[in-house]
């Protein structure tokens, strides 16, 4: 059965992109697998005007995705990391996301 993929796009607050990447590398990325999420790739945009961090997460199903994120947000390690990283204000200005089903011919399924 196909997995559900989630494309997440974070527009950084001014000057905060590196902090978003570092927080993801040091905290979110290792915590995701605990809650049944797998990050298949992460990127930063080449166009500096976009100032975005983009990644794709794989979930077992759409129902599992909601549970996975609830568990992630309740994770004590994540809560600490988030609070510590935002003492000077939030890092993310706008977060967009799409749940997506792979097509039959998609290399990643």
């Amino acid at each position: 059965m196909s997995h559900v993929y989630e494309l997440r796009m974070y527009s950084a607050n001014p000057g905060k992109l590196d902090a978003i990447v570092a927080r993801f590398r040091d905290h979110a990325n290792p915590i995701l697998p605990r809650h049944n999420m797998k990050c298949i790739a992460s990127w930063t945009t080449q166009d500096n005007n976009k100032n975005m961090f983009i990644y794709i997460v794989e979930h077992e199903s759409r129902e599992a995705a909601a549970k996975n994120w609830d568990a992630f947000r309740a994770d004590t390690d994540w809560k600490h990391a988030k609070a510590a990283s935002e003492v000077d204000g939030p890092l993310i200005a706008v977060a967009e996301h799409y749940f997506m089903d792979p097509t039959a011919f998609s290399a990643i399924k």
Binding site: V4, Y5, L7, V21, F24, R25, N29, C39, I40, A41, S42, W43, T44, T45, Q46, D47, K50, M52, I54, I56, R62, Y98, F99, M100, D101, P102, T103, A104, F105, S106, A107, I108
Partner: protein, 138 residues
Amino acid sequence: MKASHLLSFLCGALAVLGLGMVGQSKAESPKHVYELRVYHANPGKLQALITRFGTGTDKIFRSHNINSIGYWVPTDNPQNLFIYVVEHPNKAEADKNWEAFNADPAWTKLKSETETSGALTDHVDRTFMDPTDFSRLK
């Protein structure tokens, strides 16, 4: 003495081999440039767009070194989107790849055949991206 000489030789050989392998693995897996493309399909044209990718476009992409890593359709899709990510060796190659693709007779033929009753796509949002150091795909 002989044994220790042999040991130091082996350590040296392993170190050289190790360094060689590090160099090699770097050469074999350079960072690529990725392109996120979000297609806003015209009303009623999403399925035709998906079919065109599955039966023709993706194959033509590959002949121009545009390597797709995934094609998706949003689960809830009020905007009628089709989303995919392709990989290029670098940005300069990406520009060349797209030029070659757009000029390919196989593509222009497929495009005109599938658009006799209008364009399938209203517009495309393109974003070039560099993988992070910790990304699985690089």
